[in-house]
């Protein structure tokens, strides 16, 4: 590939920590890759695995879910549920042949602008390594 592959990353960020963290990264002028499309959700526990699958189906090369650190959840325990469910989803997707580099989860608090940068960099780098997602993307071959 001559031109560098620029992956599409869809990120589901919790309203209270990670979204604020990403915001802080912006206001503090931290440079991080622009491949990421942020979707704000109220809590990482609200992220339905179907969201992740739909993102991949509709053209994402990687998905990131980020929430508050354990114990910091605005809704007390939403991120604990998220951790359990999405951990299971990760295992499942790996088993059916989705590169584990395409799906990440992170804890980023509202004050961790720099951690956000690292998380994004890691996610983008991994997605680049995995290449364009061709798996079960909604292809238009039979349209």
């Amino acid at each position: 590939m001559s031109a560098e592959f620029n992956p599409n990353i869809v990120a589901f960020l919790c309203n209270w920590c990670s979204y604020a963290g990403a915001d802080l990264a912006g206001t503090s002028r931290v440079n991080y890759p622009s491949n990421i499309q942020i979707i704000r959700v109220m809590c990482s526990g609200r992220v339905n695995p179907l969201y992740v699958m739909n993102a991949l189906q509709q053209g994402a090369d990687g998905v990131l879910v980020s929430g508050c650190h354990p114990g910091d959840c605005h809704y007390m325990e939403g991120n604990f549920f998220a951790r359990r469910r999405l951990g299971m989803l990760k295992d499942l997707m790996e088993f059916v042949g989705v590169d584990p580099k395409r799906f990440h989860m992170s804890w980023v608090s509202a004050s961790e602008g720099h951690k956000w940068k690292e998380v994004v960099e890691k996610t983008v780098e991994d997605a680049k390594e995995a290449g364009p997602f061709e798996g079960f993307r909604r292809r238009q071959i039979d349209w």
């Binding site: 699958m53 951790r83 951990g87 299971m88 499942l92 790996e94 059916v96 292809r139």
Partner: protein, 328 residues
């Protein structure tokens, strides 16, 4: 082990004769060949048709939640009588899990447990001993099976036709029952789960290719979902059109999304009865996905569904020290 049919039929007749029992779901002889059909018994005559044999693969617990609830006409009382169901070891875990999830209440069912020395895989059996239109009888015979057809007796070795789920079975005896029939069977040494390991042994691309081939065959008849005793949502998210999570189109993309979503919704709930795999008209090895997930849940979270009726549902609970090494 000897399953005494007399005892089974007598117990069934007693149960259906009770005032607080609506009907009993058991197994009865199918219309031909190796088929066994679910039998809905309301009286002693029906109870006399019940059987329990190595051909009774179906998990009848699914009928506890399958019945449509219609509005009760004005002036009529709801029928609160219990439903009796006959269960094998694996099926009883489905009942337990349903109780855990409050899908059913303990006092809505009468569970008749049948210790099970393992059932056959009808496909394997038909491959080796072609099916004919004659009805057959099958029995457990020491370590193996005995096939009675048209006056002929055939001895079949256990390993030859035993269903895969039974080779991996760790709960041959019902874990939950109101009435227990016969003596418990001795649990056997379980094999390694070769099916899952084989897929795990592939690298990511090979796995993707393997499942692509499998999911491509899916015709989306939803029999895997409907037969599953634990898929009992009134309004399945995979059926919804507003919003549409999974398109109706049948292609590899939507089939994969459907199958992953189905498997995920059974994460920490699947009790490995193998029904989805048995009913699939496209022979997709769904059991492998379910068992893989069940194994992850067991190994990583120390949770096993359908064993303890007082447990918390897996996906609706958490432990502060759940593994999180995958989190950045």
């Amino acid at each position: 082990m000897k399953m005494d049919l007399e005892q089974l039929r007598k117990t069934a007749a007693e149960v259906v004769a009770r005032d607080d029992v609506k009907y009993l779901v058991g197994w009865k002889q199918g219309t031909y060949g190796y088929r066994v059909a679910p039998g809905f018994v309301e009286d002693a005559a029906g109870a006399a048709e019940l059987i329990f044999s190595p051909l009774c693969t179906a998990n009848l617990a699914t009928y506890l939640t399958l019945v449509e609830e219609l509005p009760i006409p004005r002036g009529q009382e709801p029928d609160d009588r219990k439903v009796a169901v006959m269960v094998k070891g694996c099926d009883s875990r489905a009942v337990t899990q349903l109780i855990v999830e409050k899908g059913i209440k303990k006092d809505e069912v009468v569970v008749i447990g049948c210790p099970c020395p393992g059932v056959v895989d009808p496909n394997l059996l038909a491959e080796k001993y072609p099916e004919t239109e004659d009805q057959v009888e099958m029995k457990w015979n020491g370590e193996g099976f005995l096939l009675l057809r048209g006056g002929e007796e055939t001895k079949i070795a256990r390993d030859e036709v035993l269903a895969e789920k039974c080779r991996l079975c760790r709960y041959p005896n019902p874990v939950y029952s109101d009435i227990m029939l016969g003596d418990p069977v001795e649990p056997w040494e379980t094999d390694e789960d070769k099916g899952v390991e084989e897929v795990e042994g592939k690298d990511v691309e090979e796995r993707a290719e393997y499942w692509a081939e499998q999911f491509d065959k899916c015709v989306r008849c939803y029999s895997c979902r409907n037969v599953c005793p634990l898929c009992y949502c009134q309004d399945c998210v995979l059926d919804r059109l507003n919003p549409t999570w999974v398109n109706r189109a049948v292609n590899f993309s939507e089939n994969t999304a459907f199958n992953i979503a189905r498997a995920f919704h059974l994460g920490g709930r699947c009790i490995e009865c193998g029904e989805c795999e048995r009913v699939c008209p496209a022979n997709i090895p769904l059991g492998k996905i379910n068992r893989k997930l069940a194994r992850e849940v067991r190994d990583k979270y120390g949770f096993e569904p359908g064993v303890d009726p007082d447990a918390e549902p897996f996906q609706a609970s958490f432990k502060p020290d759940d593994p999180e090494e995958f989190i950045l």
